[in-house]
Symmetry: C4
Subunit: 230 residues, 4 copies
């Protein structure tokens, strides 16, 4: 079904994660440069991120599935949408692409190539936020794929638009993006030491989403033609 | 037609109302934390709520119809889209889900599990606002289902985006959400004592919407094939 | 083709224009109440108006065509999409509906039922803005109907979103809405004495749009089956 | 396939580029008139530009392809979507239309017909931003045309919405628009002396986009029926 070879899928995941991170980091820098109002800065950050997600998932989805997110690739591996042998390449592409995105944003704004973030993002409330954020993301993707496949890019973009505001952590919901954001000391940064807590919370949220939607969406399976047994 | 059993529909209504309330309450907390400008806070609140509604109705609509709102369930009961025997389960799911949403928002922002709201929302202008808001919501849903069924999630999200701004009450338009919002003393709260006025106004608006659209949309019925009588 | 009788089409035009004006006026009041920053107020006003237009045109278009605008009804009369005998009813519905919308907005915000606007909107730059705004609106509608009929609601909402910002007059582009806005002394008001200039400019822009698009879109006409001549 | 003659395609390119520039310049003037907060001004500018792009590409795309951009016309010439003999007309229409758009914006806001911009936009970070911005634009267009042709207007509008914020140059990504913006000394202006750097960067980005997507999108070509060889 998927006619694109692994090098192209690798490139699509790297390019997509890179442009996503460049958008998150770049729009954050732009926003905090232009205003002292943090809500306004978050609004610019949100608008850019949500719009870019819609675009990237639409244009790269047919090539690689447009995960751009290790938590999502893991979920697709567990539900057998992604062959396990491809997982390492996907994760590598996402992490390398994400870091390249931070570099690109820094070069566009004349900052050092990479920095170490100093912004503290830790504690139970932040971790719970990431659990909720990633749970919701996985629920949106799995249910969207089931009921309205062509709307998935718009759904994910809209979900993240909302999640930037309704979670206390501004919804990273993505381990590769979190790593890339630990390398910028700007609006969207996160201290490297806070990464393990965020990533663990994201993976937990993803697994809860997979489990719950596995139950919630099951009855419809009977719509699909049953495979005759021997 | 609806292949999902009642437990799954109950879960979908509870999950949807919960995420909706978490978004309304959470984005309100985020917004008032980040800025002193109330218009900007309302903008962040609006953006998150509108986007989340589009997502939730798309991904849960095929399971439960995605009411998330006792006034909407009542309307569908009256026009025979929802069996009367399912109404109690729907209302319970919406109220329990909504309160869980407030709890989730509070935990994400490190607030007490539940609070009692102190924000006054009362008086004829507020009640009239809720009548208009809920009338409009029901009109949008009924007409949308009739003419452009797949657009309903987008229409409802866009309608609420507008209604947050053009009604003086910021358009609750939802008794279950109103109850859940009485349990947070933040941006989106409402005094418990003000609930009866809001809920009565919402139900009145819903009934007016049902009556008017029943007349306005009627002629088209003749398009549908008539069932032969015995 | 149009199965809805004139009373229902009248009601749809009145309801649609009423909700549109209630949104324009109401969101303007809300915005100027909440902030001192005029750009932010215009942003709230824009968001609500654009979103509501998308909704109203989708849900009422199949009934009346969703003109909500005498300049648009005139154009459709001239290009024979609307029978001339229906024009007076459409205009009456739009004006009466529009004024009702102002009344509804005032009641929701506890203001006097009607007021006389004091905001000056006059001079060549304002008039030229209205010519451009209405020209663009008519161009969008005619071209949208030709190439992508189901997208017309979204196109009109997006066009007005842009036009609120790129024209100096914030793009009324609608004589009935202009009349209704002369009866509110709030953010969106216009002095009654300034109405003739605005309305003349709007009609001029509409006619230019009709003429230009008549030429620009013509070659495609040959795609449609030619009627055999006797 | 394209049934519109060159005069109409010329007119569509001129009208589209003109309205696009009028929107960019006009909304910038409106925004800086209404607020002192630059982020808020950029937000108004972004919203108007993104919305207008979606509209213009939808309504004029079927006539001329809706390039509105010499870099895009060049790409389509290189990949044989646009006959080389039409390129000069397209470029002329875009430049003349763009300048007319600046004039229209100035007249709407009662400014001199044309001005010379004084805003400095130069240096490696700005140029790199334009390379990235135009690379992304071309990638979005080529991939969108390949996988989801009807979504291209929305994808381009959303991409530019994001690119206004994530690039340091606010993403001109368009030589004709850059020329037109050198003739306004307002929010969106650019010094004429800075044009060569911007235009060179934009063309470079476009070529990189063409090359990369040429490789990335290739495998799918085998889906199309192969032409038998003699």
């Amino acid at each position: 079904m998927n006619m694109f070879d692994l090098p192209r899928r690798f490139a699509a995941e790297a390019l997509g994660t890179g442009l996503l991170v460049a958008t998150v980091v770049g729009s954050g820098i732009m926003a905090e440069t232009l205003t002292h109002d943090t809500a306004l800065a978050l609004l610019g950050n949100t608008l850019a991120t949500g719009a870019m997600l819609m675009v990237l998932i639409t244009i790269l989805g047919p090539i690689s599935g447009a995960h751009f997110n290790p938590a999502v690739s893991l979920v697709f591996c567990l539900n057998r949408s992604l062959p396990a042998r491809d997982l390492p390449a996907y994760l590598l592409a996402q992490i390398a692409g994400g870091i390249s995105g931070t570099i690109a944003a820094h070069l566009m704004f004349a900052l050092p190539v990479l920095e170490v973030a100093a912004k503290v993002r830790a504690g139970p409330a932040q971790w719970f936020s990431e659990v909720v954020a990633t749970f919701g993301l996985v629920a949106v993707i799995l249910s969207g794929l089931r009921f309205e496949q062509r709307a998935v890019p718009w759904l994910v973009g809209l979900y993240i638009t909302a999640a930037y505001w309704f979670t206390a952590s501004t919804s990273f919901a993505n381990p590769a993006v979190a790593v890339a954001r630990s390398l910028t000391d700007t609006f969207s940064g996160i201290r490297p030491i806070d990464l393990p807590g965020f990533i663990a919370a994201e993976l937990l949220g993803a697994l809860i989403g997979l489990a719950l939607m596995g139950w919630l969406l099951r009855p419809g399976m009977i719509q699909q033609p049953l495979k005759a047994e021997p």
